[in-house]
């Protein structure tokens, strides 16, 4: 009997092990994972002595460089083949300039959220890549990183100047700076990628509004009945904004249907961010759902779209004629290259939603940045190294492009990968260390494809100047804390997958009835509580950063 009880216990624990093991494999955020393990606060090491020193007058000071410091720089992705060689070249310069070395360590793309969390808990890295998609905000407020405000003045005034007050302010969490962004404004504004050759051939309108997009797709359907039109799935709609990818096209109509807009069917216009209003319970929502239903009935997407897996190469291979979700200027550049390689005379063009709705802004400062991990061996030296890596053109070039003459060369101001040109596999490709956080807008050597990209960026920058907060991304700095409503939040997520997705995919018979059902299920799921809390947080965020 005793044995039986024991074995039952054993198998039960094994089972839970299996279940929880699988659960943690899903893409949880680093902060969530930390919390799950019971780590709510990052252990603080004795940095009291460091703070005491920093109370000296806020003036640039000479650092004592007499002892060598070996730092670890943790970045995302996979290491380039020539990691060691480039590191050696880099360290030669760093030893000379800051008497420090840097060991680049790579997260690889497997389980990177988990490993990122580990790295911060273990405090084994000194410098670390940060980004909003790695939950910079939550990590910073739980004390994962060193405060930089004073050090920036004392140790790295050049860095502070190069980045600028505005961008540093965007990296502030609870009034303190924890990260240094790169200095290259980058536009990742979503838009529609479409086949310009087909549009011109059948004399269709440029899909720069919902009506024109519909006309464009209908025109192609009429002329080439066998041609696939849109490849849309639910893959780009896993958040709390949309349930089906085609709904992103509504961005033409509403500026706030953007990747970084508000969640839970709430909306706030760029000009008046503190005035939060409701979308899911408005009449506009019903009209939009009817339009999507019409699109579905026209056969713009497959009837099995909800269960399809995303074929990201569909456009490249001519299986669809437009993409409306998850696109950005850089993907357009890739598409142009792909079409050139395919050599079928296809042509890709791009309309950013912001061009139509008038709201356009570059990526948020926290999109690519660097922080110093709390517990760093020598935070001041680390910041000095960061300044050198970002602002010193010679060092920056080694980090970003490798060794000149071996890996790359500059041809008429354009980056040229020598190994690629010789038909070999590059052993240190462009930005081979994945240091997107060290892009220097002033000295960046563009790739051939960047010329077109820069043209697009310039166009957007001009449009962005006309907006209220000229070229400032007010949305992305917000990080939600859903501790107090996490149960309701996941219920809301389930309702979105179950009721909103088919609605937006036009797979319902009666739109009005389906909308009613969706709305009542949302009420049951506790949408009101979620929205109340979320709105409060959002408004206090807007006030903190003065987005009014």
């Amino acid at each position: 009997m005793k044995k039986k009880v024991i074995s039952l216990l054993l198998s039960l624990t094994m089972l839970t092990g299996i279940i929880t093991g699988c659960g943690s494999n899903s893409s949880q955020s680093a902060a969530d994972l930390l919390e799950e393990q019971g780590v709510t606060e990052i252990p603080q090491t004795d940095d009291a002595s460091g703070e005491a020193e920093e109370e000296a007058p806020v003036e640039a000071k000479e650092l004592d460089l007499s002892n060598q410091v070996d730092l670890v720089f943790y970045v995302m992705g996979d290491a380039p083949q020539d990691e060691e060689e480039v590191e050696a070249a880099l360290n030669e310069k760093l030893l000379e300039k800051c008497n420090a070395t840097v060991d680049m360590q790579f997260s690889t793309w497997t389980d990177f959220q988990q490993k990122y969390a580990n790295e911060i808990t273990a405090q084994s890295a000194d410098l670390i890549y940060i980004a909003n998609w790695l939950n910079y905000g939550q990590l910073a407020s739980s004390g994962a990183f060193e405060e930089l405000d004073e050090m920036l003045d004392t140790v790295a005034p050049e860095l502070k100047r190069a980045v600028g007050e505005t961008k540093l302010n965007m990296c502030k969490i609870d009034g303190k700076t924890y990260a240094v962004p790169n200095t290259w404004p980058e536009y990742v504004c979503n838009g529609v990628k479409y086949r310009e050759d087909l549009r011109a051939k059948y004399n269709l309108p440029v899909p720069d509004s919902l009506e024109n997009l519909e006309a464009y797709l209908l025109g192609i359907k009429e002329n080439e009945p066998d041609q696939g039109l849109l490849t849309v799935t639910t893959e780009e709609s896993q958040g709390f904004q949309t349930g089906f990818d085609a709904a992103w096209a509504l961005n033409f109509k509403y500026p706030w249907v953007a990747n970084n807009g508000l969640d839970y069917g709430l909306a706030a216009n760029y000009d008046t961010p503190t005035e939060v209003y409701d979308y899911w319970y408005s009449d506009d929502f019903v009209d939009d759902m009817k339009m999507l239903k019409r699109w579905a009935d026209e056969g713009f997407w497959s009837k099995s779209a909800l269960s399809d897996t995303n074929n990201s190469d569909a456009y490249k291979n001519g299986l669809c004629v437009a993409e409306v979700a998850g696109q950005n200027p850089n993907k357009q550049i890739t598409a142009i290259q792909d079409f050139e390689n395919a050599g079928q005379g296809w042509e890709s063009a791009y309309v950013a939603y912001g061009e139509t709705n008038g709201v356009i802004y570059p990526g948020h400062a926290t999109q690519n940045g660097t922080a110093i991990v709390r517990g760093c061996k020598d935070p001041e030296r680390a910041l000095l190294v960061l300044q050198t890596m970002l602002c010193d053109d010679e060092v920056n070039a080694i980090v970003q492009y490798g060794i000149k003459g071996k890996h790359y060369d500059v041809d008429n101001g354009i980056y040229k990968n020598l190994q690629e040109a010789a038909g070999e596999t590059p052993t240190f490709p462009y930005e081979g260390f994945n240091t997107w956080n060290l892009r220097n807008g002033g000295s960046r050597i563009p790739q051939a494809t960047d010329v077109k990209l820069q043209e697009m960026f310039d166009k957007y920058a001009e449009l962005g100047l006309k907006t209220k907060f000229a070229n400032v991304n007010i949305y992305d700095g917000f990080s939600e804390n859903y501790d107090s409503y996490s149960a309701e939040r996941s219920a809301v997520g389930n309702v979105m997958r179950q009721y909103l997705a088919p609605l937006e995919a036009g797979l319902v018979d009666d739109v009005d009835a389906a909308v009613e059902e969706f709305r009542s299920k949302m009420k049951d799921a506790g949408i009101d509580k979620v929205r109340d809390e979320y709105t409060k947080q959002w408004i206090s965020y807007c006030e903190e950063y003065d987005y009014k």
């Binding site: 990691e83 990747n259 993907k331 690519n368």
Partner: protein, 308 residues
């Protein structure tokens, strides 16, 4: 039964089988055939896909026979086979070292806690059970190896953590209790044998089926593992083969996802057919080896099962 009857020359084979037997046989053959087709089909599709032109896969999907036959995927891989060969080498190294040392430690532990003269055997056994019920969790586990033992980046971190597992120790103890009656060890003791003589001369030889089973578990565990590379490797030259492959897939998906937020080049990612060719290169040799040594595995498990 039917085997015995076969020896009677006058009875032709066909008559002996009743209709029931024949139906039974037909059904079981059909089921087995269906089962093996289900197992083999995916592999055929992988092999055929690896020989197919990439754009054909994307536009027309997978097929049983390669359409637009091409070797380009393999050419891409073997242009720089260094990485994959290195991953092979490391995995073989981890498997051999890990299985060898692990087997030794598990057997020794199993033997000790199976001996009646060891006073605290129940306490020790309980401590071993205990770790399988309550674990410290992922983060403490990681901190232990990375910060306390300082093994991050070393190959030790990859094979050391998996040397012993409570399950295998318990399994081994059960084997020993079942296969080695007390009378044998007692008589050896009376003859003047010490613990080591008893263990190596008497216990080990009877334990071969158990060793085969536990060794198989260990070896498969090492061969299929990727997690420890993911956690502790700081240099791709120490990667396990499975991690090398897994990361290749992850990199492709991650970078495609990332490309919606960050400007980055996604044009040079491995194509569908290259991924399939990778899978063939990585699994092919194992598949060949496996089919030869499989019968030893099977006999090892069943012999162990009867005796245990």
């Amino acid at each position: 039964m039917s085997k015995d009857l076969d020896f009677e020359p006058s009875a032709p084979k066909t008559i002996k089988k009743s209709t029931g037997t024949r139906i039974f046989e037909a059904i079981s053959y059909l089921l087995l055939a269906a089962g093996s087709i289900i197992c083999v089909l995916p592999f055929i599709i992988i092999v055929s896909g690896s020989f197919t032109d990439n754009s054909t896969i994307l536009t027309q999907g997978y097929s049983l026979l390669p359409k637009n036959f091409t070797l380009s995927a393999y050419e891409t891989i073997f242009k720089s086979p260094k990485d994959i060969l290195q991953a092979y080498k490391m995995t073989i190294y981890y498997t051999v070292v890990g299985t060898g040392l692990g087997l030794m430690m598990i057997t020794l532990t199993g033997y000790v806690i199976s001996r009646k003269e060891f006073k605290y055997r129940n306490t020790v056994s309980f401590l071993i059970y205990f770790t399988s019920i309550f674990g410290g969790g992922m983060i403490p586990w990681y901190l232990m190896y990375a910060n306390v033992l300082n093994l991050k980046g070393s190959t030790l971190a990859i094979w050391f953590p998996a040397l012993m597992s409570p399950f295998l120790v318990i399994l081994m103890r059960t084997f020993i209790v079942g296969a080695v009656p007390d009378a044998i060890t007692e008589s050896a003791k009376i003859d003047g044998a010490g613990h080591f003589t008893i263990f190596f001369k008497i216990v080990l030889p009877v334990l071969k089926p158990g060793l085969a089973t536990v060794g198989l578990f260990l070896a498969l565990g090492y061969w299929n593992d990727w997690y420890r590379s993911s956690m502790f490797s700081t240099n791709s030259s120490t990667w396990q083969l499975q991690f090398y492959l897994y990361d290749l897939l992850n990199a492709t998906t991650a970078m495609k996802q990332m490309a919606s937020n960050v400007s980055m080049k996604t044009a040079d990612l491995p194509t569908e057919s290259v991924k399939l060719a990778m899978a063939v290169v990585a699994t092919g040799p194992v598949l060949l080896v496996y089919s030869f040594v499989q019968r030893f595995f099977v006999s090892g498990i069943t012999v162990g099962a009867v005796k245990g």
